[in-house]
Every structure is written in structure tokens, then in C-alpha cells.
Point group: C2
Chain length 204, copies 2
DNA sequence: TGTACATCAGTGAACGCGCGTTCACTGATGTAC
DNA sequence: TGTACATCAGTGAACGCGCGTTCACTGATGTAC
């Protein structure tokens, strides 16, 4: 019986030598373990069995919280899109500069690798999941909004293209950095790098 | 014994009902099968056994041509980078416009999905392979060269950043399109789309 | 306050699968003489 | 032109593995009365 840390009835954290039958917050624990596994080794390296072992639970337990592996990835991606949306919103409300929102997209990708690497892999996800769709649309709106604000009076098609160009640039930079295809690039200050790259966009 | 098509001694193509002991060009056949499998289902879906079966050979045969699975992926990526280099070179020599080279990058990604989806996945490759490195560097030079030509007199750092910005944009657009994250985008004329997106770069 | 009971969240064994790799082998090819 | 032989490119059986999922089950929890 492994030593484990749990929240007891009185609400205080206690370390016992016998694991309780119920985990306490297995769903949360699995999500966090999944994110850190993906960050360390990529989505392909994730196995439900290893995850269960890691959080100290039998390998069949995850089924009670996520229907299957795609369900787990979908929950990770949904949380990731919500996080991205919230962070971009905060930046936008703070500075009102689209440039800062774009820089933050890259920042998010690097600081939340475990989320980002799952979010744009539709083959891993239940694309039909309504929560996922809502979260995706919310995050996308946080790119469109600032772009639109910067070009009042433009037609929809033009806003759409400008958003796509901006998104392509930040997504491409994030992807190239994360995948290790830019070994020579100095990552001391990724925000500054993103800022310099985005300076090449006419939109900002 | 399966029916198979082979090149006989006289050099003519002939269909026989007994498979010859030697395949003829197993290496080529495996590469092509790999590319089309990746294009259809992604790199994760590729198995050496399935590939061997597909080209009508025992499942241990591929080892004689590629050390292992990473070796096969590395060969695919190398060929892909060489192809990309050659195609971009042709465009550059024809029009001399960086814009056209960038548009072709996206065109290549869409028309050679099976290559592109392997090329930027270092975790699948033998990064130390000298052929792969040569091919990667060659392709990268075909982005840098045109960018440099467009800004004679700029310092190296500035050229480097401009290249990174352009590459990020075309790579991001290609990635978003390929991964299915732009379901609403009209793909009737992807070259025109890429052209409109790239118009947002100051560089071009 | 106590008890019955439905529901929830775990367990652990088992199923069935496909995979990459290794191995001893054999058939085919091409080169030296 | 013929032959010996090294090398190359296949075969097919076997190994050992980890995986997702299913299943009958049990312990814990919380709610109705």
C-alpha cells in the first residue's frame, strides 16, 4: 500500500500510509498528469495505464471520468482553449494592443506545451464534443476581436484574412519553436522574439 | 501466392501470378507506401508490418532497407526536404519573387501532405543523419536566399528575423490547413489564399 | 438520530490485439578467376 | 564460357511487450424517510 496524501473529512491535508479507497479528485489528478506527460514526451507517449499508475490508481479507474483516451485528450484541449482565451482576454483588456495578444499566443504555447500540443490535433479529439467546440470558438474570437478593432470599417472578408494571417504567423512561430525545428534560435526571451517577428506583419 | 507486377530482365513491365523472390525495388515501394499512408492517416498510423504487407513482402523485409522505423521516417523526410528545395528553387528561378516562393511552400505542404507531416516531427527522425541534415539545410537556404535578395544591405540579424517571420507565416498557414483547424476556410484555390495571407507581410 | 438503499468510484483479472525486433534460414545475384 | 563463392535480399517463426477496453465485483458515500 503506497503512502498517499489526501484531504480528510475535516478538510485538512493529511499524509497516511494506507491509500483511501476513493482518490478524492481523480479527474483533476489525471488531467494534470496528462498535461505534464504531454509536455515532457508528447501526446503519442501518453497511455491511460501509465497515467493511472502515476496517480496511484488502478488502470481501469480513468474510465469513470473520461469515456476513453479521446475523452481525456478532449478534456485537456477544452481546458487549454479556455485557458488561452482567458489569458489573451486579460492581455487585451490590459493593453488594448493586438500585438500583445499575438505575443501572448506564442507565450502560452511555450509555457503550456502540454496543453498546446493537444489542442491542435483533431485526430486525438472528439471534435463533436460541445464543450470543446465552445472553448475553441471562444479562443478564436479572442483573435478576431482585436484584429477587427484595429480595422474599423473593414469588410468581414478583410478582417477574416487579416485574422488568418496573424494567426498563421503566431501559430507557425509557436509550432516551429515547440517542435524543435529552430535549434539555432535564442530562446532567452521568447516574448521579445515573438514581438520582433510580429513586427513584420502589416496588421499590427 | 499473390499476383504481382515486376520489371523483368528485359526491362519490360510484366504481371505474373507468382511473386519473384526479390521485390525489385522494395526501398522505393516502401517509401511510396509510407508517404501515401501518412497522407491518408498521419504518421501515428504507420506500421512497418502493415507497410510490408501492403507492398507484398514479409514483415521483416524492411529491415534490410531501413534500419528501423525511425530510419524509414528519416528517409521520407530527407526526400521531402529535397523535393521542397527543388520546387522552391524552380519557382524562385522562374519569377524571382519571394512571394511566389512562400506561396509554393504552402502549395507543397498541401500537395505533399505525406512528406510534410513527417518533415517537421523531429521525434520521429534520426536527427543525426547527415543526409537529413544536408536536405534540411538546403531547404532552409531556399527561404533565406530570396528574403536576403529582397533586402540587400540589411544586416544578418535582420535577414534572419525576416526569414523567421516569413517562414512562421507560411508554416503556420500550412499547419493550420493540414491539421484541419480551419474547417471554414475555402480551399478551392489554396494558392490564392496563401497569396492573400502573405500580402499581410511587410517583407514581401 | 438511525437505517435502508441507490449510486458512485474504485479494484483486479482477463481478453485480444498489433507492434517492432531478432533469428536462423534460403533463394538469387553478381563477381573473381 | 563455366564455376565457386561471397554477398545481398528475402522468409517465416518466435519473443516479449504494452496497450485500451470489458467485466463482475466491492467499498464508500450520500440521500430519503
Amino acid at each position: 500500500v503506497p503512502t498517499s496524501t489526501a484531504i480528510d473529512a475535516s478538510g485538512t491535508t493529511t499524509t497516511t500510509s494506507t491509500a483511501p479507497y476513493h482518490h478524492g479528485d481523480l479527474r483533476r489528478a489525471l488531467l494534470e498528469a496528462a498535461v505534464s506527460t504531454v509536455a515532457a514526451s508528447g501526446p503519442a507517449a501518453l497511455s491511460l495505464r501509465a497515467l493511472a499508475a502515476q496517480v496511484g490508481v488502478s488502470h481501469a479507474a480513468p474510465v469513470h471520468h473520461f469515456k476513453d483516451k479521446a475523452g481525456l485528450f478532449t478534456a485537456v484541449a477544452t481546458e487549454g482553449f479556455d485557458l488561452l482565451h482567458d489569458e489573451m482576454t486579460a492581455v487585451w483588456e490590459k493593453t488594448g494592443q493586438f500585438l500583445d495578444v499575438g505575443v501572448h499566443y506564442v507565450h502560452f504555447a511555450l509555457s503550456h506545451k502540454g496543453y498546446f500540443e493537444v489542442m491542435f490535433r483533431p485526430e486525438l479529439l472528439d471534435q463533436d464534443d460541445p464543450d470543446l467546440q465552445r472553448a475553441q470558438e471562444g479562443a478564436y474570437a479572442m483573435l478576431t476581436g482585436p484584429v477587427e478593432a484595429g480595422r474599423r470599417g473593414s469588410d468581414a472578408q478583410s478582417v477574416h484574412l487579416a485574422t488568418l494571417a496573424s494567426w498563421s504567423t503566431v501559430h507557425g512561430l509557436a509550432t516551429l519553436l515547440l517542435s524543435g525545428n529552430l535549434p539555432d534560435v535564442d530562446l532567452e526571451d521568447p516574448d521579445a522574439l515573438a514581438r520582433h517577428v510580429l513586427a513584420h506583419l502589416r496588421v499590427v
